[in-house]
């Protein structure tokens, strides 16, 4: 039982991070129908920027740990958001009228670019966050020790999800975002500034990814230039699992993927866990072709 519970928290911790990255993925997808393969790399850049800022500004000497993290988060958020907007401007906007997949290739190109530029700037070595950044507080839940940071990560992703969901579903701008996602021309006819709406999406999505990168950096300590690719793929899987474009779906998909991996590793085989996770994904999609929470609008003919 304790083993089960431990693995449950392990799975949720991993899943929380997947969810966080998947939120940004789904957000961008929802509007542009673009699988932004560069999203994982923006995540990775978030991790690097966090480290650079931390060491360059010597923050840890002046502020409390939470102060440092909060300040870092804000800065990373802003910087990655800027990068996201530039990415959209340069690599995606010219392709808005083109076939959907054209932008995917552009995204892949951008991903290669980001990985290699980080490699050239920072070197190919692993970089490491200071170990004492985050107090290693452990709280007890039902008598089981759980590191506080895991709870914070989970909490962060829940808060972001709820926030995003409310924003998209309940606000006027959110409705405009969804409208632009469906038919940009018609959205223009409603007086929606489509360019701005899309830019906004590319502020939010990458910013979320960047912050997730920062969290991974702080939590696990070790970052390198290829990490975005692995996390990006997982997050994409999570987003699909939940129903891509669907914000609560990204959350559910992320957590579920984390749990599947944890339990597959715990009770089956570690070496096969990813294969197993994909099998579950495929089975779920066979039963629910648009993911767990994806809309099942029968196409009206």
């Amino acid at each position: 039982m304790e083993f089960f519970f431990q693995q449950l928290t392990n799975g949720l911790a991993v899943g929380g991070i997947y969810a966080l990255i998947a939120l940004g993925y789904t957000m961008v997808y929802g509007v542009l129908k673009l699988i932004n393969f560069a999203h994982g790399d923006l995540f990775m850049i978030g991790a690097y920027l966090g480290l650079t800022l931390l060491t360059a500004l010597g923050l840890a000497d002046h502020l409390s740990p939470f102060g440092v993290i909060a300040l870092l988060a804000v800065m990373v958020l802003a910087l990655v958001a800027i990068l996201g907007v530039v990415l959209e401007r340069v690599a995606y906007r010219p392709l808005r009228q083109a076939h959907r997949l054209s932008a995917v290739v552009s995204a892949l190109g951008a991903s290669i670019f980001f990985q290699n530029i980080v490699m050239l700037i920072y070197g190919a070595k692993f970089h490491v966050y200071p170990h004492d950044l985050m107090p290693r507080t452990v709280v007890h839940i039902f008598g089981m020790p759980v590191p506080l940071i895991r709870i914070l990560i989970l909490l962060a992703s829940v808060v972001m999800m709820v926030g995003l969901y409310t924003f998209i579903q309940r606000t006027k701008v959110g409705t405009a975002i969804r409208a632009a996602a469906i038919d940009q021309g018609a959205a223009r006819l409603m007086g929606i500034n489509v360019d701005r709406v899309i830019a906004l999406v590319f502020v939010i999505g990458p910013a979320l990814g960047g912050v997730a990168g920062l969290m991974v950096g702080i939590y696990y300590g070790q970052i390198n230039f290829t990490m975005g690719w692995i996390y990006g793929l997982k997050a994409f899987t999570a987003a699909i699992l939940g129903g891509i474009g669907n914000i609560p779906g990204a959350m559910v998909g992320g957590l579920l993927l984390g749990l599947i991996e944890a339990f597959a590793a715990a009770y089956l085989s570690i070496a096969w866990k990813d294969a197993f996770a994909f099998c579950v994904l495929i089975l779920i999609l066979i039963v629910r072709p648009t993911g767990l929470l994806g809309e099942r609008v029968a196409e009206k003919v």
């Binding site: 409705t175 969804r178 409208a179 006819l189 500034n193 609008v297």
Partner: protein, 237 residues
Amino acid sequence: MLLKIENLHVKYGNVEALHGIDISVEQGEIVTILGANGAGKSTTLMAISGLVKVSEGSILFDGEPLNKLPAHDIVARGVAQAPEGRRVFGTLTVRENLNLGAYTSNDQQKISQNLDWVFELFPRLKERRNQMAGTLSGGEQQMLAVGRALMGNPRILLLDEPSLGLAPLLVKTIFDTVRQINQAGVTVVLVEQNARAALKLADRGYVMEVGHIVLKDSAANLLANPDVQSAYLGGRG
């Protein structure tokens, strides 16, 4: 003069669809544009709304050039359009679609007034206000498209075949509505295949053929014009 189009040229790729047309619309008028399929009527409306690029010529709205403005600014200035093909937002609800029609307005009271009015015009929409627009029947979507354009208190309303796919009873409603809106002070540009009804409603009309204006006159004269009759009114109705 509310709207003045001069020497308008529009190109799709290398093909020119409009070869220099002139249209003017006075404040408070209903003007109809007739023409066969592919004559360029929809293109004209899209050019006014800023969705297709103007390659030459000018569009003045209230004395101000529109053709350099982005589409959303044009809407904000009071130009609304119910486009061809309806283009409702399929995965949004009817309500959300209607709210988007009033995107540029911030006057909540006015918005809810308009909503009531649209629901009164099309009770069907009220019934279905929480249904996804994409699953509405063709005619229901058409109602939504027109209703959505009415939501924003436009100064000028561009209607592209608003009666398309509507049942005869509703076609009447639509034309009555257009008259009502017009009487409330909104200028209307109406593109219609149902030429007879359109001419009966309109003050003036233009006839387009392959990207040119070939005829302009008062609606009554056009209705009586034998060329128009044989080409667009199918002899007798």
